[in-house]
Symmetry: C2
Subunit: 273 residues, 2 copies
């Protein structure tokens, strides 16, 4: 299907589930006039434990879903997809803004001691994409990467409070090594993780800067659209449309953990729709 | 595709992921001569957080995958699928042995004080299938059902030890109410949960009987096959073939948490294959 994108076309964002909504929230903050179409592939979430081939197949389908709706840019607001994209060429990697490069750039910009921690899903860490990109931007950086496979289930089941003892224990288990290494910057390489920022900062202390991959992707998308003359210069507040591939009701129940929206439109669609 | 099943045909078992392997282990114990074909739908695991419609669509595809391979019986070794099946008629519910009915029957048989606890995924508990079936078998039973959404991620990430503090905390959080009610029987309504038996028994004490849904489904399948004259009466040890819908390598890495097999054959296939 041919579409003619222009500055009034929506921004497309996809993720395996709800995590990418942290990126949507950031886009709404810095680009309040933009329409946004979000796809959460909740029928197949999570992607982080799957193989690279499966992840890329799913990501291509997600991207096509958004392109059929005439978006002017696609953000893969999913650390797993972004890291697999970054490790090889594919239709997705050529047509998407990922969350890795912008966050890696920002991490290199803010670190003083050049010791950067990266936390993400098992698939992202295994791909070594974050490490490679950080090293390519800052050769002297020491990168310490740790998979935190329980963080996504914790967030998705609401265990995000800094006072939740299980969350505190998992944070300590996963981040103790990074603390010992003396990192001054921690890249949150999964869009779910900003919801654990308080528990993470409690453990690492206030001097460690947390870089949110969703927030950096939003800034990067703004820059790209600006360069191409595709920023929406209207005054009306943007329209947010959320799609998911499993039940809209289930999505609605949990959406408030990630984003606060009034009169939110959520529709269930097949990824082939 | 037409197939002609006979007593030498394999037993088919499916689950969303690896949990159903606890049922395979039980079948191997009580029916050592049977060939078994197992499908773990790892490209779409977990099912327990999805909607009933999505779960039934996936289950039908899984069942068809096994039927195309000429199995003589299909066991849905997945508490989530079984509970959704039990709440309505469908092609799957008419052609599958589920894990709920046999486990409900055994729970009613062993309970003395008629206070039965049920733990399972969110989707299973929401369906109320376990409660309805237990009540239909034993009208005076008091059934206390609790969703334990973190148990599957804990098991899949290897947090199964009775000494793991996070596991101990989640067990306490989910099961405190059941302990207060004074249950004497706990139905483990998800095939992952037997891996947490030690931690669960440590908390509930030795007088609470744990009923494994996978073990009861295996016994039920044996009875059904026996009644139909379809038990394999050969002497050779059965052949076990494992299929998964995501990477076989990933599957192999984790399979040892669930089952000990030598020279195990694991192949990745599309669910439509």
């Amino acid at each position: 299907m041919m579409t003619l994108e222009n500055k009034y076309s929506p921004i497309g964002v996809f993720d395996s589930g709800m995590g990418g909504l942290t990126a949507v929230r950031e886009i709404m903050n810095i680009l309040p006039n933009e329409d946004i179409i979000y796809l959460g592939d909740t029928a197949r979430v999570p992607y982080g434990t799957r193989s690279p081939e499966t992840i890329m197949k799913y990501a291509e389908q997600d991207m096509e879903f958004l392109k059929r709706r005439g978006v002017k840019i696609v953000i893969a607001a999913c650390g797993t997809v972004s890291s697999v994209m970054a490790s090889g060429k594919s239709p997705v990697s050529e047509q998407c803004v990922g969350v890795i490069y912008p966050a890696a750039e920002e991490s290199c910009r803010v670190t003083k001691n050049k010791k950067i921690g990266v936390i993400a899903t098992a698939a992202s860490i295994k791909s070594k994409s974050y490490e490679k990109i950080i090293k390519s931007l800052c050769r002297e950086a020491e990168v310490y990467a740790v998979a935190c496979p329980m963080f996504v289930p914790l967030v998705e089941n609401g265990y995000t409070s800094r006072d939740c003892p299980q969350t505190v224990l998992f944070v300590r288990e996963y981040l103790s090594g990074l603390k010992e290494k003396g990192i001054d910057t921690l890249l949150l390489g999964c869009t779910h993780y900003p919801l654990l920022s308080e528990a993470i900062s409690d453990f690492l202390g206030p001097d460690v800067r947390l870089i949110s991959s969703g927030a950096e992707a939003a800034k990067s998308a703004k820059k790209t659209l600006s360069e191409k003359g595709l920023l929406n210069d209207g005054n009306a507040p943007g329209k947010i449309s959320l799609y998911c591939t499993d039940s809209a009701e289930l999505f609605r129940e949990n959406v408030s953990h990630f984003i606060h929206l009034e009169n939110i439109s959520i529709e269930q669609r097949s990824v082939d729709d």
